[in-house]
């Protein structure tokens, strides 16, 4: 896990929020009034008042499928200093994980977020592990202060797309 985030951003990165398949997005243990779109969606995530909050305890399990295959370069996770996430594990292409089996697999990458990261500094990822990502699972294991609720203001994913066909975009050629 390297920290050359500056160079990563320069390499024509795209914010992958446009390629998220919203119908399949899931988040376990979220507080229903402070839900995942608050942190992930354009517009909502810029609003500091809207957070994603955890419910029964401090862990969160977020599943994000994409409409295309993507390569992931870096991730931005923003949150408050106290209740923001600390240990974040990323799993690529693992569907439908639960809290019980999340520790059975080695994560594709693990990030321990510093206060800088929580302010918006991107976390560079192990590039080789994220070449062929159809879906991403983000497991937030604990938060900075060890409180019962984890709050996340913004989650942004940066990378590029691999040119796969978006089935929804396929249109019939009109005969003239």
């Amino acid at each position: 896990m390297s920290a050359e985030s500056a160079s990563a951003i320069q390499r024509s990165q795209v914010d992958l929020v446009d390629f998220v398949d919203w119908s399949g997005v899931e988040c376990l243990n979220q507080n229903s009034s402070h839900s995942l779109p608050n942190a992930l969606k354009q517009g909502y995530r810029e609003d500091d008042g809207l957070n994603l909050e955890s419910d029964a305890d401090e862990q969160l399990l977020i599943y994000i499928p994409f409409t295309q295959v993507v390569k992931l370069y870096s991730v931005v996770v923003q949150g408050p200093e106290e209740e923001g996430p600390k240990t974040v594990k990323l799993f690529s292409n693992k569907e439908h994980m639960g809290f019980s089996n999340v520790n059975d697999f080695p994560p594709s990458d693990t990030a321990i977020l510093s206060l800088d990261n929580l302010k918006g500094k991107p976390v560079g990822l192990k590039y080789v592990k994220f070449q062929n990502v159809r879906s991403l699972t983000i497991f937030i294991e604990d938060n900075q202060s060890g409180s019962d609720i984890t709050k996340v203001q913004k989650i942004a994913l940066f990378g590029t797309t691999v040119e796969t066909t978006d089935m929804k975009g396929l249109k019939k050629i009109e005969d003239h």
């Binding site: 243990n29 029964a56 439908h96 809290f99």
Partner: protein
């Protein structure tokens, strides 16, 4: 109509031999289980139900979640009474069974029949509840049978630990003349969250207008909202004109009419009255009467067999285009939409002269063009 996988935890302990529910607690419970299975599979054919027993020689899964009602009924037959109920283990095994369901899109639900005393601590139950909530499993508790002082309190604590947005329920059924299953029919355990029938406008369980989550489908939500606003504007204008034009009703003739337009106006009126399938609405008649004032194609008494959303939109667009006061921008934005919709409508041939002229009139929006339309030969498409 929620897609759900349910695990029912049955209490088959010695306490179930008691006869305070007729014929005995166990039989009443079995009837209730059959009722629930039937209701779940009926509300959505893809729902699955599984059964496990909590007492006997230990927690045993009789069937994993399945859609096959016959299998479930067969399993209920073979259950024997004995031993003591182990509720904590039962719930945990149920959670595991749900985790390994085949269709991951199903919501997870556990229904527990608690007939014997609960020997667990409140705290243990709360921890279990929290784990269920964390994994988004809903829990329904049926408290019947044995009543000791602490039991309702413990079960309520379990419920509040699990409950997320009122998706979990608890039902207390004291012994009485009514069968267990009869009492259950009226409870949220069988009715789900939204209650029985939904109005088309109501969204069972959703907080959003039109039953569509803007997060899931923003374009659809936006389209629905826009069409509702257009509908409202049209309704206001229609109400205004109904008053104005009532005097002109005698002048109504029935010249050539594009029956396609007729059906579309009819269907739009159906929506206006918010009663599906009410084609002889007086509002519909008045609306159709007022159109001759602008030399529009008037309405036959055509019964609408289908009223598609597109046709209603087209009708709204037509209405607005015929209005002199209509907003130019609205017409323009409807025009391309109208032509694309027309092309996709069954039974409408875009090359049809009347349809073409109709389009031209939408664009031109001049009295002379409308008069020209009146002189057209009639065209019956339906």
């Amino acid at each position: 109509m929620v897609l759900e996988a349910t695990m029912i935890c049955i209490d088959n302990s010695e306490w179930m031999r008691n006869g305070d529910y007729s014929p005995c607690r166990f039989q009443a419970q079995a009837d209730a289980v059959n009722l629930i299975c039937g209701a779940k599979t009926q509300s959505n054919p893809e729902n699955t139900v599984g059964i496990l027993t909590m007492a006997g020689r230990g927690v045993r899964v009789l069937t994993t979640p399945t859609t096959d009602l016959g299998k479930i009924l067969a399993c209920m037959h073979d259950v024997e009474m004995g031993g003591e109920m182990n509720m904590a283990a039962g719930i945990q095994v149920a959670q595991l069974a749900l985790k390994h369901r085949q269709n991951k899109n199903q919501q997870q639900r556990i229904i527990v029949f608690a007939g014997s005393p609960v020997k667990y601590d409140k705290r243990v139950l709360e921890v279990i509840g929290k784990t269920l909530k964390k994994n988004s499993v809903a829990l329904d508790i049926v408290n019947f049978g044995e009543e000791d002082g602490r039991k309702p309190e413990k079960l309520e604590a379990l419920l509040s630990a699990v409950n997320n947005n009122d998706s979990s329920h608890i039902v207390h059924i004291p012994p009485g003349p009514n069968a267990l299953s009869d009492v259950l029919i009226s409870t949220p355990v069988l009715n789900g969250e939204g209650g029985g029938s939904d109005l088309p406008a109501a969204a069972g369980g959703n907080d959003f207008d039109f039953g569509v989550d803007p997060n899931l489908d923003p374009e659809l939500a936006l389209a629905l909202r826009v069409s509702m606003e257009e509908e409202r504007a049209r309704q206001e204008a229609a109400a205004k004109r109904a008053a104005e034009e009532s005097a002109r009703q005698e002048k109504v003739e029935e010249p050539s009419s594009n029956s396609q337009d007729a059906t579309m106006v009819d269907s739009a009126d159906d929506r206006a009255s918010e009663a599906s399938g009410n084609n002889t609405d007086p509002v519909a008649i008045t609306l159709s009467m007022q159109t001759p004032g602008h030399n529009d194609p008037s309405v036959h008494d055509v019964d609408m067999s289908e009223a598609t959303h597109e046709e209603e939109e087209l009708a709204i667009a037509l209405q607005m285009s015929m209005k002199d006061e209509s907003d130019m921008s609205k017409v323009l934005e409807d025009q391309s939409f109208v032509s694309s919709v027309l092309a996709s409508l069954p039974g409408v041939d875009p090359n049809d002269p009347s349809v073409k002229d109709l389009l031209a009139s939408l664009q031109g929006q001049s009295e002379s063009e409308q008069k020209k339309k009146e002189d057209e030969p009639p065209n019956d498409e339906k």
